[in-house]
């Protein structure tokens, strides 16, 4: 069947309308995200300060993540040490294991693993919590009772993740190094003092400092993404699930992008 020129024109017009609507929506979403971030920086400095809520969130986000972080960090230390051994053994360089593992853990593994666990556990928690508050009108209820919900819910959570992810990263670092020590001690008989002397000889202040800065950025991203997705969720319970899910996916994606970018900056500084 032949398509008449008018029909073809109509189809083309419809397609171009759909594309232009999608482009509009993309830029509107970008503007929305930008405004959300700007609002955060405006509200964070203005009183009243939600000290109690920030501390409560730090506890929820930080302390309650400790079991998972401990287990993951410990296993990563053991596994990484185990996997690195054969390669170094080929060159008879197993004595370099502590230095190699410490560099890997401090520079990359600890910040990245903490951020990914944070995105999974904390990002989804924030997304789902705020999403459910949004669809059940709890956020509106807060607003009509003369409480600024953005400050109470968003600012406190983003600050908590920004503070707690670097703290959790330092903890992951120590636990992973300890796991690696147990492995190297069992296999090579390296003493505690020798191991940690080699570990600290291998790393510099810049290594730790850059990891802390990176983790702070990851923490901000995880909190902001979770809050944005939850705060703007819609479509009832389906929206809550979507908010939780897309909080995790988006935060993980952004963490990897930030890791790549920060790697370039740190390499240049080094």
């Amino acid at each position: 069947m032949e398509v008449s020129p008018e029909n073809e024109k109509r189809v083309r017009t419809r397609r171009s309308r759909v594309i232009s609507r999608k482009i509009d929506r993309f830029f509107l979403a970008l503007y929305d995200i930008f405004s959300f971030n700007v609002r955060f920086f405006k509200e964070v400095f203005l009183p009243p300060y939600e000290g109690k809520e920030i501390i409560r969130q730090c506890y929820e986000i930080g302390v309650r993540s400790l079991p998972l972080i401990s287990l993951t960090g410990f296993i990563i230390g053991i596994v990484f040490m185990n996997q690195s051994r054969p390669s170094l053994a080929e060159f008879g360089a197993t004595s370099w294991l502590p230095s190699l593992v410490s560099l890997a853990i401090v520079r990359a593994l600890a910040p990245l693993v903490t951020a990914l666990i944070g995105a999974g556990r904390i990002g989804s928690m924030i997304g789902a919590e705020l999403g459910s508050m949004k669809v059940t009108e709890q956020i509106d209820a807060m607003e009509v009772s003369a409480t600024n919900p953005f400050k109470f819910l968003v600012v406190s959570r983003v600050l908590a993740t920004t503070f707690m992810i670097p703290a959790l990263m330092m903890y992951t670092m120590l636990v992973a190094l300890l796991g690696a020590y147990l492995n190297v001690s069992a296999n090579e008989g390296t003493s505690f003092v020798t191991y940690f002397t080699q570990v600290f000889d291998a790393i510099t202040f810049l290594d730790i400092f850059s990891s802390v800065i990176k983790s702070t950025l990851f923490g901000y991203t995880i909190g902001m993404v979770g809050c944005y997705k939850g705060y703007n969720s819609s479509k009832g319970t389906e929206g809550v699930g979507k908010a939780a899910n897309s909080s995790v996916v988006t935060a993980m994606f952004l963490v990897f992008i930030e890791e790549l970018l920060s790697l370039q900056v740190i390499t240049a500084l080094r």
Partner: protein, 257 residues
Amino acid sequence: MKKGQPVIDRSISVISIKNLVKSFGDLDVLRGVDLDLYKGENLVVLGKSGTGKSVLIKIISGLLRPDEGTVNVLGEDVPQLRGRDLDRLRLRIGFSFQNSALYDSMTIKKNLEFPLVRNQKDLTRGEVLQRVETVLDAVGLSQTINQMPSELSGGQRKRIGIARTLILNPDIMLYDEPTAGLDPITCIEINNLINEVQERFHTSSIIITHDLTCAKAVGDRMVMLLDGVFQRQGTFEEVFNTDDKRVKLFYDYNFID
């Protein structure tokens, strides 16, 4: 019919709305609404789902902004208010949400304390507790003080939602579908509670509903929202004494005795 004689002062209009227009995209929800709520009055806003009843009270409480028109609440022009000025006005307006909107992560006590401790910082712990106990007693749920919202029934949640708004002693109460999703007995209890609140706390209220039993039980006056404007208003009988098919259909589907 409604029991008791509330004291209504028709010379004082606590809410005055003129030519209110609100659209969402291409959808015109409110198309020139005029409304007055008098001091001490229970005004019922009737209408089908999706006709903009909830939008109306969200505009009154400043949750939504109108496209056109004036919304004067307790002498303040709501759309012009921002920040602390709007918050000050909101403290005088109680909003009971359709789904109660209780904070899931807090106990009933914390839910009730929340608006109080954040807005009246000079109160001692004892005074806060006393106020919590008073409003819980007013809604007949003193025993639930340490329970979580998830442990309560739908009717209990509605009552606690109303108690949370009463704790700030509002001048105006806005009820969004107070009997939606409740069994007939609980509906009667909620209707009685709305009347008790009017008498005991001397509030002026707007009750949004499509439940005519509720409307008849609590309303001093009714308005019916059809096609984005108030088509009918007056007493229950005045509103439904009409040949308008849309109004008759609304009545027939509510099974009023």
